[in-house]
């Protein structure tokens, strides 16, 4: 009991935890499982010894892509299109990385990334990709993208459980004073103003992908301070506005407002605003960005090594080839020979596997990574009976979690189940300590945290639970603390190292599909050029 109280307290705060334990709610065990994560599998990455690289007689490939997340898959698709021979190695059993999805009796559900924002017309590669999957269906008379109605998030989009009631939208409205609302309006026009800015060549300072953004000095300067400081500097005092901004930082970056770069926090709002400052539509799929992962996977060709871990990348002395040492699911070792490598994994992993990469200093050499826990709850649809209509995004004001999205929201199906995906970003200052704490908690423990959290808004939720599956992301996403964007804007970490080209969302300092897609495509185009193939860039910059 005491250990249960300890971790409930650690993740939900003392009042909730004490409440739970005082009531002594002997929670009955919940079905489900703890889904594998990179950290829990442990691939001996921490071994100091450099593994021997056996000789290999295998074919010489054009490219080996390391990592089957969005960046790796985007690179593979682009390389295949250019007619190159590619192999992709992915440590996990499925493709997608932090954008992967899963499936159970309740249907498909995300394990990480769950939506993209409607692309701006100038984001041509994203527009094309979304045309291919039937989301973008044309242009509006004003030149903006026209979206397929069924793909846009359905109403009601978001709601907040605040002071005992659900309110529409995420701003805690009940009891707001005139001053609060005036500040909210001022903040909004601030954001509108930032979103409306254009540089000499018509580029916006805030756009995903950032490869298309202008680099206004005063906007980049925002990366020098935290959002907290910025709010104070601009005279924002409303606790409600601060909550909204803090929620945005936690939701997008897994950081508190005190730790987030002001540039990143403003990016959250401004990059999601249309040409006139109006909010952009959100595009969720029941399986989250798993839909785009499947599409990218099907666009690429060549060998796929799943459940296979790249342990070392070494270079032939004469520079003629690169050797990639792969440990497959059975523990057997293989060597892949390639002319070039696209490294689509976080830098902290790259440093450990690429010969000579450690010590090639840059600000993003060791970006800070936060931990997240994602729980997929499958509820019986009796849950809906006594509930107000569920929204796509459902947030609990008093909770340290991010609330949940419901995949059911986008479906016409008559499923007897309601799938909820619950997100919890561990925003503590010391990511390493948190990671250890997190990995020490088992399935039952985390179910307890999740249910206890949701009981704040749904007191009877336990009655409807069929199963809960949990994934603990030890290194979920890069944390945009001040300074990271400045380094990214310099292009730190993007320049190739010998025959290795880098592609990962962290190179933009924010974790977004658009960034991973951009860097994957960008790295692939570098390779195409390096191998002397004709190139017509698809990046649209």
């Amino acid at each position: 009991m005491s250990s249960r109280r300890d971790f409930l307290q650690a993740f939900l705060g003392a009042p909730l935890a004490l409440g739970a334990c005082a009531r002594g709610s002997k929670s009955r065990p919940v079905h489900g499982e703890l889904v594998d994560s990179l950290e829990s599998r442990g691939h001996g990455l921490r071994d100091e010894a450099v593994l021997p690289m056996p000789e290999s007689e295998g074919d010489l490939l054009d490219v080996v892509v390391v990592g089957g997340g969005v960046a790796g898959l985007s690179a593979r698709a682009r390389l295949s299109k250019a007619g190159l021979r590619v192999a992709l190695v992915e440590a996990d059993g499925v493709l997608g990385g932090t954008a992967k999805c899963g499936e159970n009796q309740g249907g498909m559900h995300p394990w990480g990334a769950h939506y993209v924002t409607a692309p701006l017309a100038e984001s041509t590669a994203m527009v094309r990709l979304l045309e291919e999957v039937g989301v973008v269906v044309g242009r509006t008379p004003s030149g903006d993208v026209a979206l397929a109605e069924e793909c846009v998030v359905r109403a009601p989009e978001e709601r907040l459980f605040h002071l005992g009631h659900w309110e529409e939208g995420l701003y805690p409205r009940a009891g707001a004073s005139a001053d609060d609302l005036a500040e909210l309006e001022r903040f909004r026009s601030h954001v509108r103003e930032l979103a409306a800015r254009r540089d000499g060549s018509g580029r916006r300072p805030f756009i995903a992908p950032l490869g298309l953004a202008s680099s206004d000095a005063d906007v980049l300067a925002l990366d020098g301070i935290t959002m907290d400081t910025w709010l104070a500097r601009e005279g924002y005092r409303s606790a409600r506005l601060r909550w909204l901004v803090d929620y945005a930082c936690r939701d997008d970056f897994g950081l508190r407002v005190e730790a987030t770069s002001a540039w990143a926090a403003l990016f959250y709002f401004a990059a999601r605003s249309g040409p006139g400052g109006e909010p952009r539509a959100v595009i969720p799929w029941p399986e989250g960005n798993g839909r785009l992962v499947a599409h990218l996977a099907q666009k690429g060709a060549g060998e796929l090594w799943l459940r296979s871990f790249v342990r070392r990348i070494a270079f032939a002395e004469d520079g003629s080839e690169t050797r990639v040492l792969v440990a497959d699911g059975a523990g057997d070792r293989h060597v892949l020979r390639a002319r070039r490598v696209v490294l689509a994994v976080p830098r902290f992993i790259g440093q450990r596997i690429v010969d000579g990469l450690a010590g090639q200093g840059s600000l993003v050499e060791a970006p800070s990574y936060g931990s997240w826990v994602v729980a997929n709850l499958t509820l019986s649809n009796t849950f809906l009976k006594d509930e107000p209509p569920i929204a796509w995004d459902n947030v609990i004001h008093a909770s340290p979690s991010l609330g949940y999205v419901s995949a059911r929201h986008q479906l016409d199906a008559r499923s007897p189940y309601v799938p909820l995906t619950h997100y919890y970003a561990l925003c503590d200052a010391d990511p390493k300590a948190v990671r250890e704490k997190l990995l020490a908690i088992d399935h039952a423990g985390w179910c307890d945290v999740v249910l206890r959290d949701l009981e704040g808004a749904h007191p009877r939720i336990r009655d409807h639970v069929e199963r809960i599956d949990v994934l603990r992301w030890g290194h979920a996403m890069v944390r945009p603390i001040p300074g990271v964007r400045t380094a990214a804007a310099r292009g730190d970490g993007q320049r190739p190292f010998r025959s290795v080209h880098f592609a990962h969302t962290e190179l933009s300092a924010v974790a977004l599909f658009e960034e991973a897609f951009w860097h994957g495509t960008r790295a692939a185009e570098e390779v195409i050029e390096a191998l002397g193939r004709p190139l017509v860039s698809e990046l649209g910059r």
């Binding site: 109605e149 069924e150 846009v152 998030v153 359905r154 109403a155 009601p156 989009e157 539509a281 649809n381 009796t382 009976k385 006594d386 209509p389 016409d412 199906a413 008559r414 007897p416 009655d463």
Partner: protein, 526 residues
């Protein structure tokens, strides 16, 4: 009762004595008690079939449980000893308390799926046991005072007569005039009054020390019930009872909705989630106006699609067309299209439409079904008859997305009619449906008909090709209609000033504007 023990006590010596004049008054009490007892049983059966559905099963279960619990009570009565009269009054007070509070408690529990049956059968059992104690106790009290053969004959006569009274009063007076909750409380009050009265009738058989306590308890029960009666309105407001002024003859909860059929002198009515769908008295107006203006545009339609309309009444009108070859009806809820089987008067009313060989019934979400239209032959006329858009799950069936999918299921220029709620009650919602059809590329023409159960009712006739307002009904409808004729048809398309067009948004999946308009109207009219 309140001492909780039925153990023999030392007052056994206080022999029961009843004076000669009183037994006849006691027989009147038997009559009243029997009435109360049966009323509680009927209440339980009604509430059970109303909340849990399947009235046959629920009534059998309730009656069976009640009678067997009475047996338990009767068997147990032998363990009760003197002073019997005091025990009798306590038992009466118990019946009054549990019976009187039965419906209020059950009403408050209707939304608790798990609690409700437990509470229901618990109350039925307790009341049954207590009622089972009544007659054996009374017979023992009167034993030796009245000739045994007279005693048995009178007690049972009054008992059965009381039941008759209950069975007549309950449907004719209680449910229509008082409603279920008040009925229970009123009979509880009657029951408690009888108990109090008995404490006077049997005063000389009750030890004086006990008399005061008994009467105090009786007054306490009476006071409690009076309090509940005063609060009955509040209780009923939480339940659905007020919606159903009439007798409920069929009720079922399905995964999609709650079906309730009520009956009154005018006929029967179907409610979905508490909203009236039709009344058999005037549904012909609604359904003739729904189907035939579209037929007037395409009298030779061969393949007709009906979306919603699981009661089969629109289908009845569709089948009047002699050149019809195939009609497909898509309704999400199998329980709905099965209703004509479960409740035969509906089968009669829809002319056994679902038995017609031209009809195919599909159980699917209409939106999901339409999205697979590409592989199916197209329809040359469509009737869209969904419940009013009072929730998001229904609102999506009125969106541009839905109408775009519908267009894909139709031959070019096929007429479509959409039931569009009340232009009086929710004028914005009505015009929102018109505008949404237009936004989805249809030429739309609003019209309305007067249906007494609903007031003025709105429809939209639409087609992907421009069309003239229809003025002539198909010749094959000659003599087959009660409401429409050519002049009436033309008049449907005249929209009075107070129902005229409004500035409204288009209903899309991502704004669900229609549900919001409808909700606002609802708040305005409440």
């Amino acid at each position: 009762m309140n001492d909780g023990s039925f153990a023999r006590d030392s007052e056994a010596s206080a022999a029961t004595t009843v004076t000669g004049a009183r037994p006849s008054l006691l027989f009147l009490n038997v009559f009243l008690l029997a009435t109360c007892g049966l009323v509680y049983e009927l209440l339980a059966g009604t509430l059970a079939s109303y909340v849990l559905g399947d009235s046959v099963t629920q009534f059998s279960l309730v009656i069976g449980l009640y009678l067997s619990a009475m047996g338990v009570g009767a068997w147990f009565s032998r363990h009760l000893d003197e002073p019997l009269a005091a025990r009798f009054v306590d038992v009466e007070l118990g019946v009054a308390l549990f019976g009187g509070l039965s419906a209020p408690m059950l009403f408050l529990a209707t939304s608790h799926v798990r609690l409700f049956p437990v509470l229901l059968y618990g109350i039925v059992a307790v009341v049954g046991i207590l009622v089972g104690l009544e007659l054996p106790l009374l017979m023992r009290i009167l034993e030796g005072r009245v000739q045994f053969r007279d005693l048995v004959s009178r007690i049972f006569t009054f008992d059965y007569l009381g039941s008759l009274a209950a069975s007549l009063l309950f449907p004719l007076l209680c449910v229509p005039k008082l409603g279920l909750v008040r009925t229970a409380v009123v009979f509880g009050l009657l029951n408690a009054s009888v108990a109090l009265w008995c404490s006077y009738l049997l005063a000389d058989a009750i030890p004086p020390r006990r008399l005061q306590g008994l009467r105090l308890r009786a007054f306490a029960v009476l006071a409690l019930l009076v309090g509940v009666l005063a609060g009955a309105d509040a209780i009923v407001k939480h339940g659905e009872e007020q919606v159903y002024a009439d007798e409920i003859v069929y009720a079922q909860s399905t995964p999609y909705q709650r079906l309730v059929v009520t009956r009154n002198r005018a006929g029967f009515q179907l409610f979905l989630n508490g909203n009236l769908q039709f009344s058999s008295a005037d549904e012909y107006r609604y359904h003739e106006a729904l189907v035939h203006p579209a037929y007037a545009l395409r009298p030779g339609a061969k393949r007709v699609l009906v979306l919603g309309g699981g009661d089969g009444l629109a289908m009845r009108e569709v089948l009047k067309n002699p050149s019809l070859e195939a009609a497909t009806l898509v309704d999400i809820d199998p329980a709905m299209t099965n209703l004509p089987h479960a409740y035969p008067p509906l089968a009669q009313l829809n002319g056994h439409a679902f038995d017609d060989p031209r009809v195919t019934v599909v159980h699917d979400d209409a939106m999901a079904w339409l999205s697979e239209s590409a592989t199916r032959p197209r329809f040359d006329l469509a009737i869209v008859d969904f419940p009013d858009p009072n929730q998001f799950a229904l609102g999506k069936l009125y969106t541009t997305r839905f109408y775009n999918l519908l267009r894909g299921a139709l031959t070019p220029g096929a007429p479509v009619v959409v039931q569009a709620s009340s232009p009086l009650f929710s004028r914005e919602a009505y015009w929102c449906i018109v505008r949404t059809l237009e936004a989805a590329g249809f030429f739309a023409r609003p019209y309305q008909a007067h249906v007494p159960s609903f007031g003025p009712w709105g429809y939209v006739l639409a087609s992907t090709a421009p069309f003239e307002t229809p003025t002539h009904l198909p010749s094959w409808l000659e003599g087959k209609l009660r409401f429409l004729d050519d002049p009436t048809l033309g008049a449907l398309f005249v929209i009075p000033r107070d129902l005229g067009p409004m500035e409204v948004a288009v209903n899309r999946l991502d704004n669900q504007a229609l549900v919001r308009y409808y909700e606002n109207a609802w708040h305005r009219w409440q």
